[in-house]
């Protein structure tokens, strides 16, 4: 039965080699959705992580704990809650975003927010606190000093961001509940994998997973190359 795995590998190669248009479509959609979600989430999560990691306010550890806990939010639940919010009879139903790629972007962005926040905060805490003082004494504003600290721990921040991308592209619950796995519209790699698996098309499911992992691998390699240039 492990032959199914091998079969899946072979099939994956075939699919990739043949440039199967459905596969290309789904893959590009996955990339676009999770990439956007990662960018979107970074926009608010990195500043938030910096705030929590470097700030000196009351309740900081509580705040940090909260995001740690949110790491444990199951994707189905998040999918469900957001479904209720974006459903036509929900508070944001008027936006008519349900079953569109946009809402998956939003959902995944929310999903990965605690990942980025937690890890950025933690990475920053590990940076020599003197770095911040140094930046300040050289005339940096508080914000600029935070950016400097961030820059010192760029490796950690990049890891947080790529890990969150990996998490986003690999998650199923949100994509399924909010996107609905609609063929040609919101079908992404994970929903396809789940579908094929449910359909008993195990080799195909594995093939898609191989594609997914290749994509993730490629993105990670690109990022780590880009890192060298920073």
């Amino acid at each position: 039965m492990v032959s199914a795995i091998l079969e899946g590998l072979v099939k994956a190669l075939e699919l990739i080699a043949s440039g199967d248009p459905t596969l290309v479509d789904i893959t590009l959609r996955s990339l676009a959705i999770s990439g956007l979600a990662t960018i979107l989430a970074s926009c608010w999560s990195i500043p938030l992580g910096v705030f929590i990691g470097l700030g000196k306010f009351r309740g900081r550890s509580l705040f940090k704990g909260l995001f740690n806990v949110l790491l444990g939010l199951p994707t189905v639940t998040l999918g469900l809650v957001l479904y209720l919010v974006f459903s036509r009879s929900g508070p944001l139903g008027f936006l008519q975003l349900l079953y569109t790629p946009s809402v998956i972007v939003i959902g995944q962005a929310i999903l990965i927010t605690p990942v980025i926040v937690s890890f950025v905060a933690n990475t920053l805490e590990a940076v020599d606190p003197e770095i911040r003082s140094l930046a300040l004494t050289l005339g940096a504003s508080e914000v600029r000093a935070s950016l400097t600290v961030l820059n010192e721990s760029l490796n950690g921040v990049l890891l947080a961001v790529t890990a969150s991308f990996n998490r986003a592209i690999a998650e199923l619950g949100v994509a399924l509940m909010l996107g609905g796995n609609i063929r040609g519209a919101t079908r992404v790699l994970t929903t396809t994998i789940a579908l094929e698996t449910n359909r008993g098309q195990i080799a195909l499911g594995i093939a898609m997973a191989v594609v997914l992992l290749s994509i993730v691998g490629l993105v990670n390699i690109l990022v780590s190359q880009a890192r060298r240039w920073i």
Partner: protein, 301 residues
């Protein structure tokens, strides 16, 4: 959705997983979209969630196979214009050596024997346990056979998978157990070599599995694309739709997964089966009682 007349409409169809997973809807979608300016959006979820979607206005119609719940859905004012689109049979499957000895028995008799054997430790039953159409059917069967499901649940041999059909089959396979399955999923899994369970009881009135389409009531949800829903239901019961349903899977499985129903009910070509369908899938002698019909679409002529 308010779209211009020439732009394609999105028609959101919440469908039960076991139907979607057969793949028949992909084929129907292609054929239908080629003819209509309507973009079909199939959302494949559990029966309960499919109904929730429709109730909350997130689907324009549903495709399900749980008549009792369909009636409740319409009674609550959420659905109208129910139309039976196809049928097939559930099957009781089990290990080839059939330790309980239920092969070829009638469904209810088979269940009775099975309980006896199971209590003696010779058989295991795996229930889907997820309130799906199949699960609803299973519960009905136990009741018909004279058992209280709530009591059976507490017995050791009665296992609840709480999963989809495919997973349930796999669990039954692992336990060398019996289970109730829809034909489409079983054939797929069997064909793929994922299960070696055999169909032991595969026909009979009690096992009939009726698929129907219900449009969302525009009174409950004015935004629902009622016209498009009716167009699609009409297509499903059209000759073309029925043909696709009948022919789907023949090339793979050597037999059809779904039986067309329109012809059968209209012409009375197979009175026994028609009777079974009516008994299991009609309410007050009709697919859709008058009060749950909406508009003049000639669906019920």
């Amino acid at each position: 959705q308010s779209m211009g007349p020439n732009e394609p409409h999105n028609l959101v169809v919440s469908t039960t997983t076991s139907l979607y997973d057969t793949g028949v809807l992909d084929q129907i979608e292609e054929a239908f979209e080629a003819k209509n300016q309507i973009d079909l959006y199939f959302i494949s979820v559990g029966t309960g969630l499919a109904i929730t979607h429709a109730q909350r206005g997130d689907a324009d119609m549903i495709l399900v196979h749980a008549p009792s719940r369909e009636l409740a859905f319409m009674e609550d004012g959420y659905g109208v214009n129910r139309k039976i689109i196809a049928f097939n049979y559930f099957a009781i499957v089990g290990p080839g050596d059939d330790p309980a000895g239920i092969r070829e028995k009638s469904p209810l008799e088979a269940l009775e024997i099975l309980v006896g054997k199971a209590r003696g430790g010779d058989a295991i039953w795996v229930s889907r346990g997820d309130d799906s159409g199949t699960h609803t059917k299973e519960k009905g069967l136990w009741a018909q056979a004279g058992f209280e499901v709530s009591a059976l649940r507490e017995e050791d041999w009665y296992r609840e998978a709480g999963s989809g059909m495919g997973k349930t089959l796999q669990i039954a396979e692992e336990y060398e157990a019996y289970t109730l399955t829809d034909m489409g999923t079983y054939l797929k899994y069997s064909e793929e070599g994922l299960v070696t369970l055999e169909v032991l009881v595969g026909a009979g009135e009690e096992l009939i599995n009726i698929y129907s389409a219900i449009a969302v009531n525009p009174d409950s949800n004015p935004d629902a694309d009622f016209d498009a829903a009716i167009t699609f239901i009409e297509y499903l019961v059209s000759d073309e739709g029925q043909t696709i349903l009948r022919e789907y899977g023949v090339d793979i499985y050597g037999r059809s997964l779904f039986n067309p129903v329109v012809e059968l009910l209209k012409t009375g070509s197979d009175p026994t089966t028609a009777e079974w369908i009516e008994a299991a899938g009609f309410f007050d002698g009709t697919e859709c009682p008058q009060e749950y019909r909406k508009g003049e679409y000639g669906l019920y002529n």
